[in-house]
């Protein structure tokens, strides 16, 4: 099937070239980082994780959200999603690849990454995260590829593929739960030390991932002869709607616990993010935009008129993607580190090289996504004609 990736329109090649160029640029800066050290980022002794880890966290969510198309199809026999499961699975493949790359890029000593396998430490959540992420990547590649192959030859997928698809459902939940546990089990980091962390991660994932999938479906429809389907998009839209609202609800639950209990080391992080601390207010406008934007998007999506109109739906999905990204990509990680354990405020902002490396990894992910989608869509077109 790989040959399908090699022939395409000028636009397809153009897109690949742009993405490859961005990837190369990011790679150059990564070489610089390897040489100089992570000091070329904005990270510090106080805020020791930043942009890279945030992208990783966000993308684990995107990857996990594939379950939102797989689950209805396999567990509830919701036939309509048969058309789009492949898009969800290939999105997961691209997203997990980016996750693993971001983690690697964040390491001080990437040359020693295999130490995690050489000295397996089951007590460390990072060890489990590595296992579930790699497992999930493998699952989605195998399932996606085989299902597509079968579709091409108009045969039913073998039984073992079905079994693997069932396995992938709890597995998807596990990747985001384990990722939340990276943060939620640390004493003395009040912003993260909450049982709602994993549920919040999942809800924001099931809002952001399907939103992205909707946008991708609309793009696929526009630029190919394959139509993922109106019904499919509408069902996804409902998932986005309720996941977004649940996400806002979970956030409010956390706000209640923190501010009614008045525990200072839990409140301080919220204060930093939403009103500023010690006169440091860098993230305040972003956080308000994220919170208000997310709430508005969720409420508007409840309105069937706005949801059924694909233009407003696309705009609202865009808003969900941006606001969940700010929440997880900017607020969650820095917010957990500010103030530091000695209640001092050191702010964090990514540097230009850091942003370019990040962009490079995203470009790599979208390159993989473009190629995989190209293959999938070509097969679908072939089967149709």
């Amino acid at each position: 099937m790989l040959e399908k990736a090699l022939v395409g329109t000028k636009r397809y090649y153009g897109l690949l070239a742009i993405l490859a160029g961005l990837f190369a640029l990011g790679f150059l800066f990564y070489l610089k980082q390897l040489n100089f050290g992570l000091g070329i980022t904005g990270l510090s002794r106080d805020v020791s994780w930043g942009f890279y880890v945030a992208q990783f966290t966000y993308l684990v969510g995107v990857a996990a959200s594939a379950v939102m198309v797989v689950l209805p199809y396999y567990l509830h026999n919701y036939k309509a999603f048969g058309r789009v499961t492949i898009l969800g699975e290939f999105l997961a493949v691209a997203a997990v690849t980016m996750c693993i790359t971001f983690i690697t890029v964040d390491l001080g000593r990437p040359d020693r990454i295999l130490n995690v396998l050489k000295y397996p430490t089951p007590g460390s959540v990072l060890f489990w995260d590595m296992i579930v992420l790699n497992g999930y990547l493998l699952l989605n590649i195998v399932i996606g590829w085989n299902v597509l192959e079968c579709e091409r030859h108009s045969v039913a997928p073998p039984k073992w593929i079905k079994v693997l698809s069932y396995v992938s459902i709890p597995w998807a939940v596990s990747i985001h739960t384990v990722t939340a546990f990276l943060y939620a089990g640390l004493p003395g980091r009040g912003y993260w030390l909450t049982a709602i962390m994993a549920p919040r991660f999942l809800s924001s994932a099931f809002a952001a991932g399907p939103s992205l999938l909707i946008l991708l479906c609309l793009l696929v429809r526009k630029y190919s002869k394959f139509d993922p389907g109106k019904e499919q998009i509408q069902t996804l839209a409902k998932i986005v709607t309720y996941a977004t609202l649940i996400n806002v609800f979970f956030f409010m639950c956390e706000v209640f616990t923190v501010f009614y209990s008045q525990l200072p080391d839990h409140m301080a992080h919220f204060q930093y993010l939403f009103v500023g601390l010690d006169g440091k207010t860098q993230l305040v406008p972003f956080m308000w935009f994220a919170l208000v934007g997310m709430t508005i998007a969720g409420l508007f999506l409840v309105n069937p008129k706005l949801r059924k109109n694909e233009t407003t739906l696309a705009a609202l999905c865009g808003l969900v993607i941006i606001t969940t990204y700010i929440d997880k990509g900017l607020g969650l990680i820095s917010g957990g580190f500010v103030p530091n354990p000695l209640e001092q405020v050191t702010e964090y902002w990514p540097t230009v090289p850091e942003a370019i490396i990040t962009l490079g990894v995203w470009a790599m992910g979208f390159l993989i996504l473009t190629v995989l989608y190209k293959i999938a869509v070509s097969i679908k077109e072939e089967v149709k004609s």
């Binding site: 000593r109 000295y119 640390l186």
Partner: protein, 270 residues
């Protein structure tokens, strides 16, 4: 150390026989058993559980700074704020980000956040508290490390294997005391005078106070204890007759964020 010199040599020799010499020999051993550079000499100091008592009443500001300086000198800790060469001068914000600290001073409300009353003894309010890794008995940093590069020895010291660390910085997120530093860039140009008794570090690894494990192995007290003019005592918590036990019997002590269940092993007399 849970291993004596002879046994160490035996194991090392065995691994060489197996063709696993070099660093490989160390990697075969479980962490906590042995570290590459520390082999206890005759007359090394040993304990069941090392603890430190800092008598802040006896510690004047000057001595506190000297303790920190002594520690940083014998461990080749780089100084980014005041580089040895004017050419290396960094923008203060950047220098602040790169900082490496093993032992430094903080005010009460930073060292013991949440514990400071609105009106407190003036002396204590302005007191410079020496802070360092607490060598927690239940250390979150060890719990989270994915490679056992941070590990706990039998004598309670929380050690770093800087040859194994992958630089994921999970331990920095895990430590609730901000005791850990990362080498964001090559630290060597910023080390004032190269102290031969301790290795310098490469980029990309985490480091922190080790209770001077390398000095204990040579029968020496930790550098800060030696510099403290008696304000810091160091010894075995399990030994009833030790000086630290005597202090703990005699004085009321506090520990940093003990409510987190980490069981810190640095005690403060205020």
């Amino acid at each position: 150390m849970g291993i004596d010199r002879r046994e160490f040599i035996r194991i090392a020799g065995l691994s060489t026989l197996l063709g696993l010499g070099g660093t490989g020999a160390f990697e075969l051993l479980a962490p906590g058993r042995v570290e590459a550079e520390i082999i206890p000499a005759l007359g090394s100091l040993k304990a069941k559980r090392w603890v430190m008592v800092i008598n802040q009443k006896e510690l004047d500001d000057n001595t506190a700074q000297q303790c920190a300086a002594a520690c940083h000198r014998v461990h080749n800790v780089p100084d980014f704020l005041n580089p040895p060469d004017a050419k290396l001068k960094l923008n203060p914000a950047v220098a602040h980000r790169y900082q490496v600290k093993w032992l430094w001073t903080e005010h009460f409300h930073n060292a013991f956040p949440g514990d400071a009353p609105a009106h407190m003894a003036e002396k204590v309010e302005h007191m410079n508290f020496l802070v360092l890794c607490n060598h927690c008995q239940n250390p979150p940093c060890v719990r989270v490390c994915p490679t056992k590069a941070t590990f706990q020895r039998d004598d309670g010291i929380v050690m770093m294997d800087m040859h194994r660390c992958i630089g994921c910085r999970f331990c920095m997120a895990g430590c609730p005391y901000g005791s850990r530093s990362f080498n964001w860039r090559d630290p060597r140009p910023y080390v004032k005078e190269n102290y031969p008794g301790y290795p310098t570090r490469e980029i990309g690894v985490v480091e922190k106070c080790t209770f001077c494990a390398e000095r204990l192995a040579q029968g020496l007290q930790p550098a800060c204890v030696e510099t403290s003019r008696g304000a810091i005592v160091f010894g075995d918590l399990e030994d009833e007759k030790s000086e630290v036990r005597e202090y703990l019997r005699k004085y009321f002590t506090i520990r940093r964020k003990a409510h987190l269940g980490t069981n810190p092993q640095v005690y403060y007399i205020v």
